[in-house]
């Protein structure tokens, strides 16, 4: 799952560094606000622990062996914010000092494993464990499921990142410039190994540690989380969320770097244009497209978007068009959410204010 240098395009690397940076900033702010001067040593030693855990060789059913990443157990013990930082630090050291994973792809690797892995593990562990006793078997099951699925979720995102490369980045002859396999090959290739081996290794380590701690040191479940609470203090989440939305809106012009059209997003006019038809055939394993399908011809005029191709007619600069479209979309969604929230909060008639 560690993507080395050279497999992802510069635009993908920058986008994923951007997404990871927002997560690092958010996690760091959350930790700093709630500490505890013990944060720095605690995260440091736990990052070192995660690093060492990644080297454990685990025998798995079927005679094979696998490695865990330690993401799920870091999330269970430290909470998601500290886990994001600790696992990112471990991955940075692996890339920088041991050549495992690349430097240009560090943003992608931390996004997949530290961010997606930690958030999925946190959500699943708490959803399954609920308010059960700290010593209950349900928590061991929750840890195993969180370990297995967080590892697979991270692999799925990595497979997606690798699988979109040949469609988006290729030379004029169609030769992929970075990871060479499309989604239909990349996703099964990466998921088979993780569904059968790596996910199991993660489940074994996570459940094994939780089970042992239930018998040996219950305090450890609470100890670190007291120092590093998982949730932000009241009232501070919304502003950060808006900041993240703003950053993502500003990143939308990365779309203009993409060459050609996404597969399957052709318009009726594309089927009539010779150049577009050649592009469709090239991305469809040289299968010649049919004449404009009648369904597409009939339905394509049904609705005319106000901002076709994310570029309003009056805007000449495509980058500005993307940002404006993103702001418009965010505004519409925020207004719709506010309206739904208002309807849901309306009290039934006759109910007294408390």
């Amino acid at each position: 799952m560690h993507i080395p240098d050279g497999y992802l395009s510069p635009a993908s690397c920058v986008t994923l560094y951007g997404l990871s940076s927002v997560s690092w900033y958010s996690a760091l702010q959350r930790i700093k606000r709630n500490i505890a001067s013990r944060t720095i040593p605690l995260i440091s030693v736990f990052a070192a622990f995660t690093f060492v855990i990644m080297m454990f060789n685990l025998p798995l059913p079927g005679g094979t062996t696998g490695h865990a990443t330690g993401v799920a157990i870091a999330t269970i013990v430290l909470g998601p914010a500290a886990s994001i930082i600790a696992v990112s630090i471990a991955l940075a050291l692996q890339a920088l000092l041991f050549g495992d994973g690349g430097i240009s792809t560090l943003g992608a690797n931390t996004f997949n494993m530290a961010v997606v892995g930690s958030l999925v593990a946190y959500a699943l562990y708490h959803a399954i464990a609920g308010s059960s006793e700290i010593t209950s078997r349900r928590r061991i099951l929750a840890a195993a499921v969180a370990g297995y699925l967080s590892c697979n979720a991270a692999a799925l995102v990595a497979g997606f990142e690798l699988g979109i490369q040949p469609t988006l980045y290729h030379d004029p002859s169609g030769a992929p410039l970075y990871a060479p396999y499309p989604l239909r090959i990349a996703l099964p290739a990466i998921m088979i190994g993780h569904l059968t081996i790596a996910g199991l290794a993660e489940a074994v380590v996570t459940a094994g540690i939780v089970s042992y701690l239930q018998r040996a040191d219950l305090g450890l479940f609470n100890h670190a989380q007291v120092a590093l609470p998982a949730f932000p203090s009241k009232g501070s989440g919304a502003s950060r969320l808006w900041l993240m939305v703003a950053v993502l809106a500003l990143l939308t012009p990365l779309g203009v770097l993409a060459v050609g059209k996404a597969w399957g997003e052709w318009s009726a006019s594309d089927f009539e244009n010779q150049q577009a038809r050649a592009e469709i055939a090239r991305t469809s394993r040289q299968v010649e497209p049919p004449p404009t399908p009648s369904g597409i011809r009939k339905l394509s005029g049904l609705w005319t978007a106000p901002f076709p191709d994310y570029a309003p007619a009056f805007i000449k600069n495509p980058i500005f068009g993307y940002v404006l479209s993103a702001m418009f979309g965010v505004g519409v969604l925020a207004s719709a959410s506010a309206a739904v929230d208002r309807i849901l909060r309306r009290k039934p008639k006759g109910e007294l204010e408390s």
Binding site: P4, D5, G6, Y7, L8, P10, C13, L28, K32, I35, A36, P41, L42, I43, S44, V45, F46, A47, A48, F49, F51, V52, I53, M55, F56, N57, P59, L60, G63, T65, I73, I85, I89, L93, L96, L97, G99, G102, I103, S104, S173, G174, A175, Y178, P180, Y181, I185, V204, G208, I209, S211, Y212, L213, A216, D217, H223, A224, R282, R285, Q286
Partner: protein
Amino acid sequence: MRHSIESTLHHFSHALSNALISEKIAARQTLLQKIDVRIRLIGTLLLLIAVVLSHTYRGILVLLAIALCLAILSGVSLFTLAKRVWTVVFLFTAVIAFPALVLTPGPPISSAFGHFQVTETGLRTAILLVLRVETAITITAVLVLSTPWNKLLLATRALGLPAEIVTILGMTHRYIFLLLETASQMFESRKSRTVGILHNADQRSGAGKTAAVLMMKTMDLGNDVYTAMIARGFSGEARILEEPRLRSRDFIALLAFASAAFFCFWIGR
């Protein structure tokens, strides 16, 4: 199949020996080691960006040649690079790139594997991927092998990382080796107490328990380190020593790195 305890011990010793080799090479006073670590780090990143941006063999081959020159100038032997980097990376990347020869659509060329035909596009894709990955990892390896790791981590401050993160990076690096040694001792003592063959289920259970005990030791270590830091006046705010000022030769090196990266990007467009 190798016993999982032996295999884990092998991983640990490999990591420790890598660190020792780096420290040994980094201690030499060759040309590259005389340049400020921050400049070396920024220069490496510029070359890596050029590798990723290059769309043709030409640009990447020139970058590989630059990486080899840097290796020789830093006292990193090509044998060490071949043994520790190129062979491993080539095998790993070749496994991934090989199917692209027949799976990438394009005009077929003469060689054929049964029903599959090697395409010209596939051949170019596979060569470009292997070359790009080898070059990127060679550039990183030269930096890592020729720089003391603690200085390299401190130099990340020049990239604008917050002091907290740089402090955590430095501390993590230090405690990785302590925990590697602790884990290694735990596995060795377990191995010395084991008679006969352990079944897979017992090995799994043993590895889980070892991981849990290691985590308990980690948390104890965290508390000890925190207490020691408090005793030395730590107030919760991360501070790191100011780096020395850059000298004129550092600026010349930065200019050389930037020019080389731009040149390779230009010819590799």
